[in-house]
Each structure stands twice: as structure tokens, then as C-alpha cells.
Symmetry: C3
Subunit: 364 residues, 3 copies
């Protein structure tokens, strides 16, 4: 794997999920892969979960890790050619990127949406320059438009919480040999196979917008939608619904074919998983609104996920990528309740990162 940006980069999701399961079973078994290999993690924006979990994943694999915190304000890179660089930009990306790449084997980059230009953000200008000029495998640690390490961790978490007597596709390969036999003995015959990753009816996963006092990027909902739709298309038995107020429609490249239900209560009916997240206006219908908070959040508080909405679900699990503002996105009782998955979800960030790094190491 040379780039980890979209769900397609991971190929067959059931194979990837089986690999995640195997990583979780013994995360230290591939240290030969990472020996004398260095991961460079470049943060143009703050990070807690992503930094810690990715660093941990790389160390699990026996890699060296170098973390580079780049103050987006202080270290401005020139990106255009022909410019007389007599201003505040002291380095050109055409030098900076290959140089950083020369000291490592894999590169992870975090660079959030800047909300200065929808076009710049959605073209992924910065990450694409790393892909083009580094000559190294590049993985996205949340970019302007995607957060695939989060979405993969979310999928792993959903899979773990879903009773499934079915073998994952990947388990028929070499991974199977390492799985204890008592687990295999419960595997059904092929003919008993049900509706996807989990047996029986498809599970219903709902992505819901929720209020927030500041303008947030669309990276997390974009990726979550992309991954849920891909899982659905790959026959993993997911029924995916998005709910948000008018005007917050996500970019078609991520949600093509998804069902949008503007009535939050209706969307929640019978749901198995509720995934809450705020995002600012993606500017799909009105580009001039890109990155804006459309209505004062005080008027949108009924979108805050509470016992009221959870009551109409199928005893749904609650998910959020964190950090989360309590009593804006979700009430205390829901996030602290027995169906909340926010901590296991965060813990799975280590697993998703390790699968990605492992695959990149294997492709070196």
C-alpha cells in the first residue's frame, strides 16, 4: 500500500477486518517488519489520539518513530514556482518534502481544512504534494477532507460489537492457522451464511449531525460515510443512513448513494449504531457557505443526542470519534451509558493504524 486515504486503498474490507483482529490478538508479532524502519509523523495541527495511537502502532511493529510538530503559522512553505521568496516563507515544499522523506521510510501527515478555499481543501493540496514529491508511502492522519484511520477504527469497533458466527473472508487465508481451534469450531457451514459480516438482518448505522459552537471540518463524516457505504457495497450487511439539518449535505464523492433523512427521530428508528458528529457546511449546494455554521447552535440543541432519541433505536450503541463536547453533541447519560463505545473506538485507533503501517511495511 503506497497511499492510505480512501477506503479503496485497503481493498477487501473483510480481509482488513480479519487482519485487525489478528493484530489485536498479538500486536507484537511483526517486529521484524519494522526493524530499522522509521515512521515520520508530521503534524501541521494538534493531535492527541492520532499522535499517541499511531506512535504506539509503529512501536508495536518495531519501528522507530519521529514526531514532527509543525506550527502551521510558524513554518510556512512556498508552494508555487517562480515566486521570489523574499517574504515570510523560508522554504519551498519542493525541497522540504523530499528532504524529510530522505530520513524515513513511511510518512504520516495531519493537515486540517483551512477553510480559506473550498477548492484548496477539497483538492487536498498539501497531502497530494507529499504523495507526489516524497517518494514514500503516505498515510493520512486527518486531512482537509478525510480521516481514514478513524473510519477504519470505527468499522473495526462496529464489527467487534456485532454478534457474528461467520468467518471473515480473510480467515480462510494464513491468518486462520493462528486462530485457536475452539473459535473455528463455532464457524457455520458456508450454506448458513447470512446477510454479510454479521448474520441475520443488516445492521442499521446512523450518522447524525449534532450541534457545536465552532466551525468544524467534514473529514470525519466524509470518511465515515465513505467507509460505511463501501462496507455496504462489499456485502457486509450495513444499512447506512445520514441525518442532518438542511444545508449540511456532505460532498457527493463521499456519500453517493447514501440515504439522507432530514428527520433525526425518524432516522434513529430501529438503529443499531448511532454515530454523532458535528460538521460545518460542506458548501455543496451553496459554495459560499463552505465552512460556516449555518444557524446559531442555541437553536439547534434538539439535535443533541439524548435518551429521547436513543429510545426509538434498537438499543443502539453510541459512537463518537472524540474529543466530544458533552451536552452539545451528546448528553452525559448517553455517553456514559452501557451502550457507549467511545473509549473502545479510540482504543481501536491503535489497531487501525497498525494494520495500515503493517501493510505499508510489507510493500516497501
Amino acid at each position: 500500500m503506497k497511499v492510505f486515504q480512501h477506503v479503496q486503498d485497503l481493498g477487501d474490507l473483510s480481509v482488513a477486518l480479519a487482519e485487525a483482529q489478528e493484530v489485536k490478538r498479538d500486536r507484537y508479532q511483526w517486529q521484524h517488519l519494522g526493524r530499522n524502519k522509521t515512521a515520520l509523523l508530521i503534524f501541521f495541527n494538534n493531535s492527541l489520539r492520532t499522535r499517541l495511537s499511531t506512535q504506539k502502532a509503529a512501536m508495536n511493529l518495531g519501528m522507530n518513530v519521529i514526531v514532527l510538530d509543525v506550527n502551521q503559522g510558524a513554518w510556512k512553505l512556498e508552494t508555487e514556482r517562480g515566486v521570489v521568496m523574499d517574504g515570510d516563507k523560508s522554504e519551498h515544499l519542493l525541497e522540504a518534502i523530499p528532504v524529510m522523506a530522505s530520513y524515513c521510510d513511511l510518512i504520516g501527515v495531519r493537515s486540517f481544512a483551512r477553510f480559506e478555499s473550498r477548492e484548496d481543501d477539497y483538492e487536498e493540496k498539501i497531502l497530494n504534494q507529499f504523495i507526489r514529491y516524497s517518494g514514500r508511502p503516505v498515510f493520512f492522519m486527518e486531512s482537509a477532507t478525510v480521516h481514514p484511520l478513524q473510519a477504519f477504527a470505527d468499522l473495526i469497533t462496529i464489527k467487534e460489537q456485532t454478534p457474528s458466527p461467520l468467518p471473515l473472508k480473510g480467515e480462510s487465508g494464513h491468518l486462520q492457522d493462528q486462530v485457536p481451534s475452539q473459535i473455528h469450531s463455532t464457524l457455520p457451514l458456508e450454506g448458513e451464511r447470512g446477510g454479510g459480516l454479521w448474520s441475520g438482518r443488516p445492521i442499521k448505522v446512523v450518522l447524525t449531525w449534532a450541534p457545536h459552537p465552532r466551525a468544524l471540518p467534514q473529514a470525519v463524516p466524509n470518511s465515515f460515510a465513505e467507509w460505511m457505504l463501501a462496507a455496504s457495497q462489499q456485502g457486509l450487511g450495513i444499512d447506512f443512513v445520514i441525518t442532518h439539518p438542511q444545508g449540511y449535505e456532505l460532498d457527493p464523492q463521499f456519500v453517493q448513494g447514501a440515504r439522507v433523512e432530514y428527520d433525526q427521530m425518524k432516522a434513529f428508528e430501529g438503529a443499531d449504531f448511532i454515530y454523532a458528529k458535528n460538521w460545518s457546511c460542506p458548501g455543496v449546494t451553496r459554495p459560499q457557505d463552505y465552512g460556516k455554521v449555518l444557524d446559531d447552535y442555541h437553536t439547534m440543541m434538539d439535535w443533541c443526542v439524548s435518551a429521547r432519541q436513543m429510545a426509538v433505536t434498537n438499543d443502539a450503541h453510541f459512537m463518537h470519534c472524540l474529543p466530544v463536547r458533552r451536552n452539545m453533541i451528546v448528553t452525559d447519560d448517553v455517553i456514559e451509558g452501557p451502550r457507549s463505545l467511545v473509549i473502545p473506538e479510540a482504543a481501536n485507533r491503535e489497531i487501525s493504524a497498525q494494520v495500515v503501517l503493517k501493510r505499508m511495511l510489507e510493500s516497501l
Copy 2:
């Protein structure tokens, strides 16, 4: 060991001192303990010695280390439930702590006194939340009220500088087998045993307040007193005296039973070790003075440790935890003199941290 906060957490001090001695003899002999284990060091405040020495200790043990510098101002954690988080706090500790804990095996936290509320500081609100919600062993890297890694290093240093033909209790255990035989040949018979850790008369250790231009926490003197009193109570032969101006009385939970002598010169008479430190008013007698500098330091300069006071000691060693302001706390000649222990004391921070981390690894 699940928590390292108080001297009691370490149990028998002579066993711990023997363990420190063994660590110092060969600090790389336990790397199997730390293999694939990760220490997360979280700094809410600046650190030089603690960061370097603890990182080194963890690496000595073969651990991975992740250092997290948290700007206390930038990353504000909500601590109350029921709050609508629409202000400047973007994350709740009830999420942040378990998430950080999920990526590591041991957690060290530095969080100084804030001087906003004596109650908050002396309740150790922040550290206690880490203990309660992380599910990991937690060690204090200087909190609002204690600095046990420093106090343990101080005790190790005092022990090293004290002529002692006596075996430590711990040496009768498995550690003894690894000690070169020529050392054993000097061990006395049991009947020759003297007055504690060192033979002969108890040594006199004096903790003295000294002037400083800014308000400093009480963590270092609190822990030093706690440790000296415990060493004394455990029969290690320490005669402990505290001297400070009126109004700087330390909290009883740390100094219960200690002798306080307000006349500094009198306190220094016959002392073997002088431990200097400034602290602001602990607010024991007048809570409203908590965290204040009671008198302009210009009027307190005779408390600065100089040759004048050292002259009445028993050629005492000089100690300070560093950083130290010269010619405020201590004169150049005393700190540079042959009896100064400030550098060996700092070097022993690596040793005290390693004993603590080793014990925590052993208890995983």
C-alpha cells in the same frame, strides 16, 4: 505498585534503597520487564530533570516512552458533569484520561499547584482523576502537593553519602547474590548493627526554607519531610529538623511529629545534611495566605544558606532539588563547594524513577 505518591507506596525503605543500589550497579538488567511496554509521561507543566531522568529510566528498562507536553492553558479539560460544553473546554477528562490510558501501560503525570484554591490543590484533583479513571498504574512526577521521585532520590543520595558498613535489609534477599563478594566480606555480623541505616549516631538532616522572588509550591518540602520522617520511623537513624520563618508551617499530613526550629542557626548546629528549598505559605494557620510570599524577599536574605550557617554544622553536605537561584537560596561558594550534592542528587533522579517504574512493571 499501582500508585506512587507517598512514601508508604514504596513499603520498606531499606529494601527500596537496596534496590536502588542494585539498579545503579547495572541499570540495564531488567529490559525483559519493559519489552513492548509503553510509559506515557504527561506534562501539564514544564520539566527538565523529571522529563529527562524518567525517560532515561524507562529506556533503561527497555520500555517505549511517549512524552506528551500539554499546555495547561491550551488544552483545558472539563471536570464537571452536567455542563453544556460550549466554552473553551473542548474535552472532558472522563473521555481524555481513559483514551490516553488505552495507548500505554504506565502513566506519569506532572501537574503543579495552581494556587487558585488550597482545597483543589491539596485534594490533588487532577492526579486523583488519573488514578480513578485511567485503569493504569500512575506515578506522580510532581503534583500540587508532592514530588516523591525527588524525595526518593534525595534519600538515595543521603544514604550513599553516609558511611555505612551495614547491610541493607534488602541485601539479605535475592539482590545479595548479585553483589560482588568482596563487598560482602566487609559486612559486619548482625550483632554489630548500629543505629539504623548507618552505624553509630543518627545523622542530622535539616530542611531549611530560603528566600525566592516568586511564589513556589510546597511539593518538594512536603515530600522531603514525609520521606525523612518515614525513614526515621523505620529506624534508619535520621534525626530530622525543619527550620523556616513563622507562617511557613508545612501541612500536618506531611510533617506530623517533625521538630520545627524557627532559629535557623540553632537548627543547623551539628547538622550532617542541609536541604534548602523555598516554598510559599502553605496556609495551614491562615488559609487566606495560601500560596503567598509573606515578606519581601529582600528582608529575608539572611536565610540564604552561606558559609556563615554552614560553619556551625558537622561539615554538612548541601542539598537542593534544582533549579536553584544562586545567592538567593544558597551562595556560590556553598553550592560549588566540595560538600555540595546537587549534581549527584539530580543524577539519582534516574535511579529513583527506575525503581518506581520497575516495581510498576513487576505488578502489571
Copy 3:
């Protein structure tokens, strides 16, 4: 090697170059040397290349690395004795340096010229205190006056780009045994030996000043000149020329014996390597001008290296230490052209650092 500051610290350059070549062939073969050894990298100034490459070099050698970013403004060290430290300096270097040294085996320090006093900068006050008080090997990661890791990487790069059928002196030692035999079969007999490191005529290396909007230190040109002159004196066949506007004369301690040609076009004639760099006034002839930009850079733009000057060279390679301001120092077409070495030069920073660290480890 106890100090790495000047070219002389490295001894015979052809031995060092052979060692660099061997490091590049297999950089992981000396991990026994670095086992349980710790490099402390102290940055009083920002760093990208130096931090990453030195960290990587240390890890290649199996070392532990601790990076310490010291904000020059926030952590002010007192350097004088006798001062009552009641101001903004909370620690004295006489404590800080030995303490930091106690937690590591090797120390690297970056501390730029401050331009407050030519004397302070050229006396290397800060670095010399580390040498004097740390008791550890100290290597310069760019100081007020020198940048030897860069100059060594530059020499390695020049050597690599120069066709040479000649054995390096070092290859007659133990390194030779590890070099594949097919390379040895091309080695000429001793009598065939040509004019230095490379056969035939000496290569012409030109250091040229170039314009920049801000005042920059002289560390890079000082070291580059020092190293080129030493290579020349050691018979490596380098013809070294410096070109700059009047007033930018470098300090004699670094350029003694170098040919200075004030006409840039004339200097470039027949050159094999062009090394561009801006520097502010070294204050050699007029001390009061130290650290100044003598003329508005808009009036100096004909010094910017472009196709015009490159046309009179012997199809010269272009070199710069980076970061570089394009179209100030050099035009886009030259730096992007096939003769540009800026990226391999940066990549060789890892190699030069590794040779230095390796030698220091060997001398412990």
C-alpha cells in the same frame, strides 16, 4: 572523539570519507555500539534537517535519543557567578549542564549566533560551556560560528559526485575487507595515483554569497570554507574559491589561504561545484557592521545564481545547505535542474552525523 566542532576533529578526511561510504553501504551494522547509550539533542533554535537526520543517525546506531527543545526566550540560563538570581533567569548553567549530562552519553547542541556581540558569538560562549562542564562528548549541531555536520555532508556529496578510480586511504584498513571485491578490482596501482581524492585535475569548488532578505549567521560558509581548505591541504585535489561582495569577508580563522574573487562571473569560470549561501557581514574589517545586511537585497539580485552564471562553469553541480529561498539565492531552473545536489546533500546529513556519533561512541 570528544568534541566535533572543527574539521581537524575528524582527522584524516580520506579515512572519514571512506567511513562515510561504509556507513552508507550498511548503516545498521554498528548497533552494538549504541546499545544502552543515549544521545541528548539540545536545540536552542529551530531545526528540521539537523533534528531529523541526527535523530535518525543515532537510531541507526541503536542509540536512544532524547530531543530537548529549549525556547531560547523562556529558559534563560545565568552564566555569571556572584549574581543574585532574583530576575528572569531561574537556573545557572553550572547546574543545568552537568545535570543534563548526567542522563546521557553524548550531547549535541544547536545554538545560533545571537548577533548581540561579535565577541560572544565568535567565542562560542554557550558551546564551550557545554564542553567544559558536561563531561560528555559534545558535537555541534550548528553553533554561532560553525556547522560542521553540514560541511562534512557537503564534502561527502562532492566526493560521491566526482568520478574517482582511486582508493581512499581508509580503504586500506579494516573497511576494505567489507567492500565487495568487484570494486577493488578497479583500484589502480599506487603509482597510477592522480591529483588527490579524484584522478586528473583538481576539481574547482566555488562558494558564492547570494542575496537574502534577512540577516543570517556565518556558520555554514565558515565551516564549508574550513572543510574545503582542509581537504585541499590534505591533498584531496580541491581548488577552492570564494566569491562575495565587498564587506562580506569571512573570518580569517576559517578562510586563511583561500582565494577570494569579488567578480562572481570570473569565479564561476570552469567551476565543477557551485555552493551558494547567504551570510550577513562577519565584521572582520568593520566590527560595528557585524551581523548586518550591508545593502538592500533588491540591489544585489544579480548575485542570485541563475543559468547566466552556470553557463560559464564546467557544467557545475549546484549545492545549498537548505532551507533555500528560491529566486533569491538561486532560480527555480537551476535548483530543479539535473545538476542540482540539494536533496542528496541533505540526505547525507544522516551519514555525516552517523560517522560523528559512531566515532564518539567508539571513544566512550
